[in-house]
């Protein structure tokens, strides 16, 4: 059983690799678009609902990061914790009060998560395109529902993605929590929970969808190869004298 599972996973991974190699443009363009959407969508929502940002910066301290990581001045745990939290760049919209109108900070963890989700989408569409041209994947019969599910999950995840607010000891609020003012604390907790669940659902759900699609593509390719082999073999047999009639 275990061997069968590993074999199926191996076949799926092999199919993904083949699909990405065969359709690099599809993979790259979809992945890039999804990655950009992760960044652009929260900014667009906040700019529309509150006000456009007026400040962007890469964290100037990052130039000191390699030296700090190599130095003995902080413990390994401290360095690890900071690396998980460090902000790479951020946007803020100024306000005439004692806090920004809103802030959106992107950290290392966000970039890793975005890259992972973007790769999944890229792989999904590369597989889909690959299957269509190869006639595998049942002409996309397994792909469409998976694509719709992935798109729904993704939209849900993106619209409730966490947004770092640069306020006084502020909690991390979902973008929609920042966008619409006056929400109760329980609504915000609900949105934050939804954000976590939705993000997890996107990552796990999409991984499964891609694996299943890749497995189907791999299986169909194997089936096609086998049937092509049978046909070929049959044609040889047809040519054998004495088999006719």
């Amino acid at each position: 059983m275990r061997r069968a599972v590993w074999s199926a996973v191996g076949r799926a991974v092999g199919s993904i690799w083949d699909a990405v190699r065969a359709r690099p443009l599809v993979f790259a363009s979809v992945a890039l678009a999804v990655f950009a959407l992760n960044l652009v969508l929260p900014l667009a929502v906040l700019s529309f609902a509150r006000k456009p940002w007026d400040y962007f910066s890469f964290n100037p301290w990052l130039s000191q990061l390699p030296g700090w990581l190599a130095s003995p001045q902080a413990s390994f745990d401290r360095k690890l914790t900071f690396l998980q939290n460090v902000s790479i760049f951020w946007f803020t919209a100024s306000s005439p009060y004692d806090a920004p109108e809103w802030g959106f900070a992107v950290g290392l963890r966000d970039l890793v998560r975005w890259a992972f989700v973007a790769s999944l989408f890229g792989a999904y569409f590369a597989l889909w395109a690959y299957a269509r041209t190869r006639g595998a994947g049942g002409q996309g019969r397994g792909g469409r529902p998976g694509g719709v599910a992935g798109a729904v999950l993704s939209t849900l995840g993106l619209s409730t993605a966490p947004c770092s607010v640069m306020g006084c000891g502020a909690p991390v609020l979902p973008v929609v929590g920042l966008a619409f003012q006056g929400l109760s604390s329980s609504a915000l907790v609900g949105l934050a929970t939804l954000s976590s669940v939705a993000n997890l659902a996107v990552e796990v759900g999409l991984s499964l969808v891609v694996l299943v699609l890749a497995w189907i593509v791999g299986r169909d390719r194997a089936g096609l190869r086998a049937s092509a082999g049978v046909r070929l073999e049959g044609s040889h047999l047809d040519a054998v004298p004495g088999r006719q009639g």
Binding site: V86, T92, Y97, A105, V165, M166, G167, C168
Partner: protein
């Protein structure tokens, strides 16, 4: 978790009412006051010491910024009148308006360093500006003491090892925690709680920390109403009527500044304060003279858990008496927490220079001044304050109190006889407490309270 009585827990926290004595500085070996100066060692240049000061000088946040600038200027005038830093270097202040926006502020800090060649930078009110200016100050190697601009973001996510940047502001979580402890001590029978907070990070933070502490200290407490007006709101009618109709025992609020003046005056019209107890985290924190005699008496009127000019009172703490006298004489108004913080920031910078000079002789390098600032304890008008070496954050005890009309002031004040003080170390997460996970508890202190404070019995 052990079952602890509220009374015992409050004792363990070290809470005092009308404090007979001020607690000593935490973790600081020595605490010095402003009168420590001795003659300078070595050769001191007589060129001006240039200080960049940036705060809100226009717009609605000027109610916070102007007292900050006045506090800085008062300290500078005092230092210059005494001959300058180390008796030689007169301070020259270069002002900048923080209301220009974050992008312009970053450019201005660069200009101040590269063109004006400032030696020291101070001020800053907005928590949107410290995360932008802090890393730039580190990059430019500008010795900086932020007076406010409190946000966990700066040291948690942008600069993990501050070298040049210090911050003297109060600890934000202390506002909600202090207000809740004072409430539990004063009105232990309240159970139905209404909240009205400005809908931005400060209001959310005040709500979270008040709630977690009240949940721990008052068994069976429930939130019966929440109102989240936009910052800058002047019409609170809908929130006030909603609060009244929820029939709470207590209303908690962190509305501040001009918003608060509008809020309490509208609340008076609806008889709000006669129908429920009232606790504020910051009602008396912004501009003491803006609070009219019509303000409800006997309410918990917070001061950002930080400083109020009537405390420590009279001859109990001459440093405060002198500071208030000098400030009033200079500006014809009373100081608030921003004024005190800015004043203390300049005095601590001067003290660190003097100490570094005694060790090294001559004008000290920035690294030597920083070495003195780290762990420096100082006796200021509000009491003791010290810079924790690991995070460069200033710590001083939290306070709140009760509103009272007295004949000696034309506005309502915080009654110095019933001020509640709490050692800051007992209400903030200890050093090394891990940062909460994404979408987890809002702050380290919230997480620490949730995990380590017992549920209390009556």
């Amino acid at each position: 978790m052990a079952d602890v009585s509220r009374r015992d827990f409050i004792k363990q926290l070290g809470v005092t009412v009308g404090a007979a004595a001020l607690a000593g500085p935490v973790g600081a070996a020595v605490s010095a006051g402003p009168a420590e100066a001795q003659s300078a060692a070595g050769k001191i240049p007589d060129t001006p010491l240039k200080v960049g000061q940036m705060t809100f000088l226009s717009g609605p946040a000027a109610v916070l910024g102007e007292p900050m600038l006045k506090g800085t200027l008062l300290a500078v005038e005092e230092i210059n009148a005494a001959g300058g830093v180390l008796g030689k270097r007169k301070i020259e202040v270069v002002k900048a308006d923080e209301a220009a926006g974050t992008d312009a502020n970053v450019k201005e800090l660069k200009r101040l360093k590269l063109e004006e060649k400032i030696d020291f930078f101070t001020g800053i009110t907005s928590s949107g500006n410290t995360p932008a200016l802090g890393p730039v100050a580190e990059e430019l190697k500008v010795l900086t003491i932020f007076v406010d601009g409190c946000t966990d973001f700066l040291f948690d996510k942008a600069v993990p090892n501050p070298k040049y940047v210090f911050r003297i502001t109060n600890i934000q979580s202390a506002d909600g925690v202090t207000a809740a402890i004072a409430t539990a001590m004063t009105w232990p029978h309240v159970r139905r709680i209404a909240h009205i907070h400005p809908d931005y990070s400060y209001g959310r933070n005040a709500f979270d920390h008040t709630k977690i502490v009240l949940d721990k200290m008052l068994p069976g407490v429930e939130v019966v109403m929440e109102g989240w007006p936009k910052l800058g709101t002047t019409d609170f009618t809908a929130h006030i009527t909603k609060a009244i109709s929820a029939k709470p025992d207590l209303l908690v609020s962190s509305v501040w500044g001009g918003d608060y003046i509008a809020f309490y005056k509208q609340g008076l019209g609806y008889g709000l304060f006669k129908q429920m107890k009232f606790t504020s985290t910051i009602a008396f924190g912004v501009a003491p003279h803006a609070i009219g005699k019509d303000h409800p008496e006997g309410v918990i009127a917070g001061v950002h858990a930080n400083y109020y000019f009537t405390y420590p009172p009279g001859n109990r703490w001459p440093l405060n008496t002198e500071f208030v006298k000098k400030y009033y004489a200079r500006w014809k108004e009373y100081p608030n927490f921003q004024a005190e913080g800015a004043y203390v920031a300049m005095q601590m910078y001067k003290l660190a220079i003097e100490r570094a000079n005694r060790l090294t002789g001559g004008w000290p390098e920035d690294e030597q001044i920083i070495g003195q600032l780290e762990g420096l304890g100082y006796s200021g008008p509000a009491g003791y304050i010290y810079f924790r070496p690991d995070n460069h954050q200033g710590y001083k005890d939290a306070m709140t109190g009760f509103s009272k009309n007295v004949d000696s002031y034309p506005f309502q004040i915080l009654d110095p006889a019933s001020v509640i003080t709490i050692p800051i170390r007992n209400i903030t997460a200890p050093p090394g407490w891990p940062a909460p996970a994404l979408n987890g508890p809002p702050t380290r202190t919230y997480d620490w309270i949730e995990k380590t404070w017992p549920k209390m019995r009556e």
